[in-house]
């Protein structure tokens, strides 16, 4: 087996240093990309908008069941026991922790009945006239 000379070793070290430098730069970047759109606040925003649009589009006397397991899991993780989805004054507020929450308003004037069924992970909405 032929051993590497000093120049060869120096080159390998340089390559390793270069790779380490790339890892230092790209690892946090890829981590940031990986978690993008999956934080608590992102989920609050996503569900607030989703529920508002559902209400906006629904016709009177519509019964809607929406799976909110993801929100419930996040609320459990944050030890938050309050209302996850609140609907008041034409606005949907979604909270999965004591701090924060995301609100989104809708234009429809419908009366809305809301039940959070935590056992089944469902948000039940009754859209009335």
């Amino acid at each position: 087996m032929k051993m590497l000379n000093k120049k060869g070793i120096s080159l390998i070290m340089a390559e390793i240093a270069y790779i380490i430098l790339l890892i230092i730069i790209f690892l946090p970047l890829f981590y940031k990309v990986g978690i993008a759109g999956s934080s608590d606040s992102d989920y609050e925003q996503m569900y607030a908008k989703k529920i508002s649009l559902i209400i906006e589009e629904a016709r009177p006397n519509t019964h809607i069941e929406l799976n909110i397991n993801e929100l419930l899991n996040r609320a459990d993780k944050n030890k938050y026991t309050g209302d996850i989805v609140s609907i008041d004054k034409n606005s949907v507020l979604v909270k999965v922790s004591e701090k924060g929450g995301y609100g989104f308003s809708y234009l429809s004037n419908a009366n809305i009945g809301k039940i959070e069924n935590r056992e089944n992970g469902l948000l039940i909405l009754d859209i009335k006239t």
């Binding site: 080159l11 009177p60 419908a110």
Partner: protein
């Protein structure tokens, strides 16, 4: 910039170009994530599309305007379309309805505007920061003239004739205007000359239906917000 020893420099050089390329890739990825993330959560366009469809749904029925085109006003739209006046006044939405004659393209009446009227200007400009808009153009028959005297010689297709028994839609008028077919609930009621129809069925009211194009422009700038 050279950061390795002289021997390495000959084979391996981390130059400014390397840093520029790396920085370019990093910026490119970050910008991509930001643009993708913001477009993923931006529902303004979807929201204005829903409102557009909702207003159209409450104004029209089977190709007919449900209301008298001249007397239709803001309060009727808010009431019949079940919209919240307070949210409309909060300057996050806009609904504009314009009425044009199908044949002449002239305005039949003044447009009806609800919400922030400046949105109609922004809708013509393509900018991410401006409200997102959706427009529907619908061909309908609108009840424009509602008269007590029946001018049977002027009757056109799709007009409505009214007598004590109910409303009759004129299905067709012959080219020489000597034969008129009248339907009620898709059933042919009469096929005769206008004069005979007038005498036999005793029409007392004549509603001229106008072919019109109604444009509904809905815009939303509702982005919501963290509490």
């Amino acid at each position: 910039m050279k950061i390795f020893n002289k021997k390495a420099e000959e084979e391996f050089i981390l130059s400014w170009w390397d840093f520029i390329i790396i920085a370019f890739i990093v910026v490119f990825i970050l910008v991509g994530v930001v643009i993708f993330g913001s477009s993923l959560f931006d529902v303004r366009s979807k929201s204005s599309g829903i409102i557009d469809a909702k207003v159209a749904d409450c104004l029209f029925d089977n190709g007919y305007l449900k209301f008298d085109v001249q007397s239709l006003d803001k309060s009727q739209i808010i009431d019949k379309c079940s919209l919240n006046a307070g949210i409309l006044e909060a300057n996050q939405y806009y609904i504009g309805i314009s009425f044009k004659d199908f044949n002449t393209n002239n305005e039949i009446r003044k447009s009806i505007e609800l919400g922030d009227p400046s949105f109609s200007v922004y809708c013509k400009l393509n900018n991410e920061d401006y409200p997102k808009c959706q427009e529907k153009r619908i061909y309908v028959f609108g009840q424009e003239k509602n008269t007590g005297s029946v001018k049977i010689s002027e009757v056109k297709e799709k007009d409505i004739l009214v007598n004590k028994q109910g409303q009759y839609i004129v299905s067709s008028v012959s080219n020489d205007a000597k034969v008129v077919k009248v339907f009620s609930n898709s059933v042919l009621v009469a096929e005769a000359s206008p004069e005979t129809l007038l005498n036999a069925l005793g029409f007392t009211k004549y509603i001229e239906n106008k072919e019109m194009i109604i444009s509904i422009l809905a815009a939303s700038n509702n982005r919501g917000g963290s509490t």
